[in-house]
């Protein structure tokens, strides 16, 4: 029941729009069907399966909008939810930023769905976790991990005739493997739309090798170092920068994208020349939905070209204020890189630090986007192109904006948490203190 076809979803939405008496009405129907397993100390700790579907109705009279949601889909319930939204709209204060619904739009057909992922059962999950546990047990190490998959759909319709539907699947896996003495720890995480790409055995072997390799870490002095950030580490930091590409907060003078004296830094060279960032929901490695919640088409957008800010994101309201076209974000962010592997980057480094991942990243100063956080689960000292020894974790204080001005080299992008991100070689990365954490 939770995953409706395009036709089934359209039929329900049409019925709902038919019940509307408001000036305008926007309806969204979404559902998901998925499950998870969590394990720790080499044994399963919890497992669950959940299926949900819900319908949201936004009704507007003039500039007064009310929203109601429901998870029952018989005619009486559908009528009730429309009526409730309309009653709430009558009581609501006027929203001066209300934007009328969009008319029909054209959307590219996304490639977010994979039938094999949709067919995952609790047994598939147990088998995938079993492979991970076989690695930790055989190596005499302890594993704690989480595997989760879901099939989701989302459909929207409005009283101006707009309709959009998307169906997708995802599977994500992460595991922390530690040695029994608690002196070494390794981690991997990966997400895909297609379960066939997910190799829990190979990933767990990487985590196990980092657990062993990071044991006996030496302390080196905090300071400025050349770092090689694995894609996950780079993504942890850069992910915090993307939301700064919002035009409104820049125009309002409260973002690192704000310009001294007013306005935004659109068109300025903000990063090194080798930094190119775009988003594309049709990217086959990291596909995402081709429409926003209000039905705006999402297409390929260049955000940074040769270090110059090419676009900022505009909501429909802010775009109208500024007389520009609205431009939504996409979840498919891509930082272009080269062909070099992580190993190539290490080989080319005389002295540096290899970072597996970062942890507990928080904003320190929104004006410079200064972030703090710590390295975790495998930090290594590099000398003359080789990993020499594991080092103790560091706290860093660094801004992704400054970091992307200090790019020495970018490797081949891979899919990670916040996009398709290359391993990065960055000079003068600021570590401010040591941590005893393992």
């Amino acid at each position: 029941m939770a995953i409706l076809s395009k036709e089934e979803a359209q039929a329900i939405l049409k019925k709902v729009i038919g019940f509307s008496k408001a000036d305008s009405c926007e309806v969204s129907l979404s559902g998901s069907d998925g499950g998870n397993i969590r394990y720790a100390r080499n044994a399963v700790s919890t497992a669950g399966q959940i299926s949900t579907m819900s319908l949201g109705v936004s009704s507007t009279f003039g500039k007064k909008t009310g929203t109601a949601t429901i998870n029952e889909f018989d005619d009486a319930s559908l009528q009730k939810v429309v009526k409730r939204a309309e009653e709430l709209a009558m009581l609501a204060p006027e929203n001066p930023e209300f934007m009328p619904p969009l008319g029909p739009q054209t959307f590219a057909e996304s490639n977010t769905y994979n039938a094999k992922t949709a067919a995952i059962t609790p047994d598939t999950r147990a088998e995938m976790v079993g492979k991970s546990l076989s690695v930790s047990k055989a190596a005499g190490l302890d594993a704690a991990g989480f595997l989760e998959n879901a099939t989701r759909f989302n459909a929207i319709m409005n009283s101006k005739g707009l309709f959009a539907y998307n169906k997708g699947t995802d599977v994500s896996f992460s595991v922390t493997i530690r040695n029994k003495q608690g002196t070494g720890s390794g981690y991997v995480e990966q997400g895909f739309n297609d379960v066939d790409k997910m190799d829990t055995l190979a990933l767990s072997k990487i985590a196990a090798s980092k657990a062993n390799g990071s044991a006996g870490a030496k302390a080196i002095e905090p300071g400025k170092y050349t770092v090689i950030l694995e894609p996950l580490a780079a993504s942890d930091i850069i992910g915090n920068m993307f939301r700064g590409f919002d035009a409104r907060s820049a125009d309002e003078g409260r973002s690192f994208m704000s310009k001294k004296g007013g306005g935004t830094r659109l068109g300025e060279q903000l990063f090194s020349e080798n930094v190119n960032i775009y988003s594309d929901p049709m990217n086959t490695e990291i596909p995402s939905s081709t429409f926003t919640g209000e039905g705006l088409p999402v297409t390929r957008t260049q955000w940074v070209e040769k270090g110059v800010v090419k676009n900022l994101s505009y909501s429909r309201y802010w775009a109208a204020q500024k007389n520009v076209q609205p431009l939504p974000f996409s979840r498919s962010m891509v930082i272009e890189g080269g062909t070099q592997s992580l190993e190539d980057l290490i080989k080319s480094t005389e002295k540096g630090i290899l970072v597996t991942r970062f942890w507990y990243i928080r904003s320190v100063d929104p004006q410079t986007l200064l972030l703090t956080g710590l390295t975790r689960d495998g930090t290594f000292y590099i000398e003359n192109g080789e990993i020499k020894f594991p080092i103790k974790n560091f706290r860093f204080n660094e801004s992704p904006v400054i970091m992307l001005n200090n790019v020495e080299a970018l490797g081949k992008p891979v899919r990670t948490g916040s996009g398709l991100i290359p391993p990065m070689k960055i000079r003068d990365f600021t570590f401010t203190s040591l941590s005893d954490a393992i």
């Binding site: 044994a43 949900t52 609501a92 704690a144 904003s363 706290r395």
Partner: protein, 538 residues
């Protein structure tokens, strides 16, 4: 961890699956007799399928949010999430399932699914679950002692209050102001095969704002957040009372009544001072930490590392583990902090976010020492962990954020006891030669074993020779947990004791949010390393 919890993009992690309902609907609770009947259906179904233990939670979670910005209302939402979760032990393993179809057949089916999952998981278990004994309490109830149910206060009154806050801010020269009011009512029913039927009605409230001024010519901006605390209270928290204020310092401080209009007027002045503040010179300073700031340091550096599930490795893949390993506790002499440091876990404290009568596995709540005169003496445990500490009963730390989440070990209120010698904050400041007086939470980060942390504040005043002489900017302190707590030299007395807290402490996979308070009086820490976080962009 805890969510930032301010601004539209960072709303606290309140259940997102809620169904929108009218205010009138939210005021009608589910009949207790009906809840007992549904609970028995689940317990009987579980037992008949072979469960050796079962508990059921019927939860009705109400959330109301009023969000405003400058002169307009951004969002009003009133939502409900209602359903049932059943947890069982079968073949020595846990199983869990949930449903929001509340007919007998669906409830029985959920219970049966939980037993099937338990039996499936049992094959991967190396040792069976050991549950601390727990007597049944029969039919009992508990309610947050509120004076005014926030859900009964008309939304129009709440909108008016917040728009007045915004108006005061703009009168004070604010360029932007957003103000929000979050209200939560958890109507929770718990029943177990031990013979408990527990009905609880829990209330929480959090008023807050962020005031921003910009300096366009220099491309700078500064903000100040409300110095309110989220509380386990009703709407009475927003009724100012002079006896609940502490005045005389650079900032008015609030105990169990909050004056949001006064705070926003002060905030407008503070932001001007922040825009003109002098950059801090890095080095060692004595820190005087107000409870509105210290609560988060307590949360991160004491609350989390004393969670027993972290100590044991159950959170290794997400939140992390803990430096407070069992051997340190067993030694009975691990020097966590100075003699001043007495940390108490308390699930009963009136007005706190964690106060409940019973936890989410039917254990009556209590109070115990975690750090006694600087020594680690205890952790936070639930029923299936109690035996590890040699305890004969759970400490009542079990919580689930929804009927469809699995309950697990969550932090109780963890607080620093105030000093026994009479001392006000103003008197404490007088003895500081070179220090910083910090108020409010800002940036916070700590490693996965809770050794190394970095915190900054909403307001950082310079103390020079016992006097407050101005404001610093770009100040953050970095410390090691054990060293930091050993540098604790002085605490103000109980008259200065206040609660801080968070609505959105995150833990677990899938993630769950929990609300928790941390109390303290103003406290002094000597010789802490402070860095300057100011940077320049090209």
């Amino acid at each position: 961890m805890t969510g930032v919890g301010l601004g539209a993009s960072m709303l606290p992690n309140i259940p997102a699956f809620g169904k929108m309902i009218t205010v009138e609907e939210s005021l009608t609770p589910v009949d207790v007799a009906l809840k007992k009947k549904m609970a028995d259906v689940a317990l009987n179904a579980a037992k008949s399928k072979g469960a050796t233990y079962a508990d059921v939670r019927i939860g009705r979670y109400l959330n109301q949010v009023v969000a405003t910005r400058e002169t307009r209302v951004e969002n009003i939402s009133n939502s409900e999430s209602y359903g049932l979760g059943v947890r069982v032990i079968a073949n020595g393993s846990w199983g869990f399932a949930a449903t929001n179809n509340m007919d007998d057949a669906s409830i029985a089916k959920a219970a049966e699914a939980a037993v099937a999952i338990a039996k499936g998981n049992a094959k991967l278990m190396e040792e069976p679950v050991q549950l601390a004994p727990q007597k049944g309490y029969g039919e009992v109830s508990w309610k947050t002692p509120i004076e005014i149910n926030a859900f009964e206060v008309p939304i129009a009154d709440k909108v008016e209050l917040l728009l007045n806050v915004n108006s005061e801010a703009m009168k004070g020269g604010a360029k932007y102001i957003s103000s929000n009011l979050f209200m939560i009512n958890e109507q929770k029913y718990f029943a177990s095969t031990d013979g408990s039927y527990i009905d609880q009605d829990i209330h929480r409230i959090w008023p807050t704002f962020t005031l921003t001024k910009t300096d366009a010519a220099n491309g700078k901006f500064e903000t100040r957040n409300a110095l309110s605390a989220p509380m386990g209270m009703g709407f009475e928290y927003l009724k100012p009372k002079d006896t609940e204020k502490i005045k005389g310092g650079p900032v008015t401080m609030y105990k169990k009544r909050y004056d949001i209009l006064e705070d926003v007027r002060e905030a407008a002045v503070h932001v001007d001072e922040k825009l003109k503040a002098k950059p801090i010179t890095p080095g060692k300073y004595d820190l005087v930490l107000d409870p509105s700031h210290l609560f988060l340091t307590i949360h991160e550096s004491v609350g989390h590392p004393t969670e027993l599930d972290r100590v044991l490795g159950y959170e290794a893949n997400y939140a992390g583990t803990s430096f407070l390993t069992l051997d340190k506790w067993e030694s009975k002499k691990f020097n966590f902090g100075s003699k001043e440091v007495n940390i108490i876990a308390d699930k009963l404290e009136t007005g706190s976010l964690g106060a409940v009568g019973y936890d989410d596995e039917g254990v009556k709540c209590g109070k115990w020492d975690i750090i006694k005169d600087g020594i680690l003496v205890n952790y936070q445990a639930i029923r299936d962990q109690a035996h590890i500490l040699g305890l004969t009963a759970s400490q009542g730390c079990c919580y689930a954020d929804s009927w469809d989440s699995i309950q697990f070990q969550r932090m109780p209120n963890v607080s620093l006891a105030p000093g026994n010698v009479p001392l006000s904050a103003a008197e404490l400041v007088k003895n500081v030669e070179k220090g910083i007086y910090m108020f409010g939470r800002n940036s916070y980060s700590i490693d996965q074993q809770r050794y190394n942390f970095q915190f900054s504040a909403q307001l950082a005043y310079e103390i020079k020779e016992g006097k407050i002489v101005g404001m610093f900017k770009d100040a953050a302190y970095q410390a090691n947990t054990q060293e930091f707590w050993n540098s604790c030299v002085q605490r103000c007395d109980k008259n200065d004791y206040r609660l801080g807290g968070t609505f959105s402490d995150g833990k677990g996979q899938p993630g769950q949010a929990s609300a928790v308070s941390h109390g303290s009086a103003t406290t002094r820490f000597n010789g802490v390393n402070v860095i300057n976080t100011g940077r320049k962009l090209g």
